[in-house]
């Protein structure tokens, strides 16, 4: 349930954000607020992980899993990237972007 509320808020944010397109100062403040909410949330995540003995005692196993999942994600992505590049992008030039 929480995640649906979050996605709805996210979508609402994008729409509200459209109103601030010309407001450079507001945008800077929003980005600063994003940065600090991320700090706060990661700090809170850190605490709840720290008091969870199941996690702290298995930290190396968790890191091991994370490492192999990263290789899987990056490996899958670059193999498909090679395929798509060879098939569609060999002669790509974004001429418009150079205006």
């Amino acid at each position: 349930m929480t995640s649906y509320i979050v996605i709805a808020l996210f979508a609402a944010g994008i729409l509200v954000g459209r109103l601030f397109r010309e407001k450079e100062k507001t945008r800077k403040k929003v980005d600063l607020a994003v940065t600090w909410s991320v700090y706060l949330l990661l700090f809170l995540l850190g605490i709840s992980v720290g008091i969870n003995d199941d996690i702290t005692q298995n930290f190396s196993r968790i890191g091991y899993k994370a490492f192999w999942l990263t290789l899987g994600a990056v490996g899958g992505s670059i193999l498909l990237a090679k395929l798509v590049y060879v098939l569609f992008f060999k002669n790509y030039k974004d001429t418009e972007a150079k205006e």
């Binding site: 996605i7 949330l41 008091i51 490996g75 992505s77 590049y85």
Partner: protein, 201 residues
């Protein structure tokens, strides 16, 4: 890179403080995390929505360029799904949710720990930080052997900001635009795909 170190520092301070039980109980209230997440997601939306450049780039893109974020989605999800079969203590679904972070570690870890618990959240945090670090280190190598889209693909959602400079350096400005485009699409997809993967399967 500096940004990720600061974030890791906040996480570590919380972690160590948690291990030694030095924080007051009200900080552990789950509602606090939930409301902070609500605020964060709304603000991330505002930040994306108010980005003039982002919408300009989105409008200019053609169908072919849409293949780039698509290949990152398919590649990351398939890659993590296959990897989960080799690790015996993570389900396909959990692994794919971690893969759906696309390098956006702050958001995906918070989001995943909210839905599936802190252990998977920490896996997501570490895995997606690794993704950014691997990209920063390996772009020259990846571009040489896997073509000019490889750096963008490896960077995932980070291709629009933290890994953009190195991608542009090794693939050129034309591909920089694709990198930003792909990064924006993937950033928007992170919360949506994580939810769909963890709640619907």
């Amino acid at each position: 890179m500096k940004g990720s170190l600061i974030i890791l520092a906040f996480f570590t301070v919380g972690l160590v403080g948690g291990i030694f039980r030095i924080f007051p109980n009200w900080l552990l209230n789950e509602d606090l995390t939930m409301y902070a997440l609500f605020v964060l997601m709304f603000l991330v939306g505002v930040s994306i929505g108010s980005d003039k450049g982002a919408f300009y780039i989105l409008r200019k893109m053609n169908l072919k360029v849409l293949l780039v974020p698509l290949l990152v989605v398919v590649g990351s999800l398939a890659g993590t799904a296959i990897t989960s079969l080799l690790l015996n203590d993570i389900s396909v679904q959990e692994a794919m949710a971690v893969g759906a972070g696309f390098g956006y570690y702050s958001l995906s870890s918070i989001f995943i720990s909210e839905i599936s618990g802190q252990e998977l959240g920490v896996v997501a945090l570490l895995s997606n930080i690794f993704r950014e670090i691997i990209t920063l280190l390996a772009v020259p190598f990846l571009v040489r052997y896997f073509g000019k889209l490889a750096g963008i693909a490896s960077g995932g959602a980070t291709a629009m900001d933290t890994t953009l400079p190195i991608i542009v350096k090794f693939t050129g400005k034309d591909y920089g635009i694709i990198a930003i485009f792909s990064g924006i699409i993937l950033t928007i997809l992170v919360p949506i795909l994580v939810t769909v993967i963890l709640e619907f399967f």
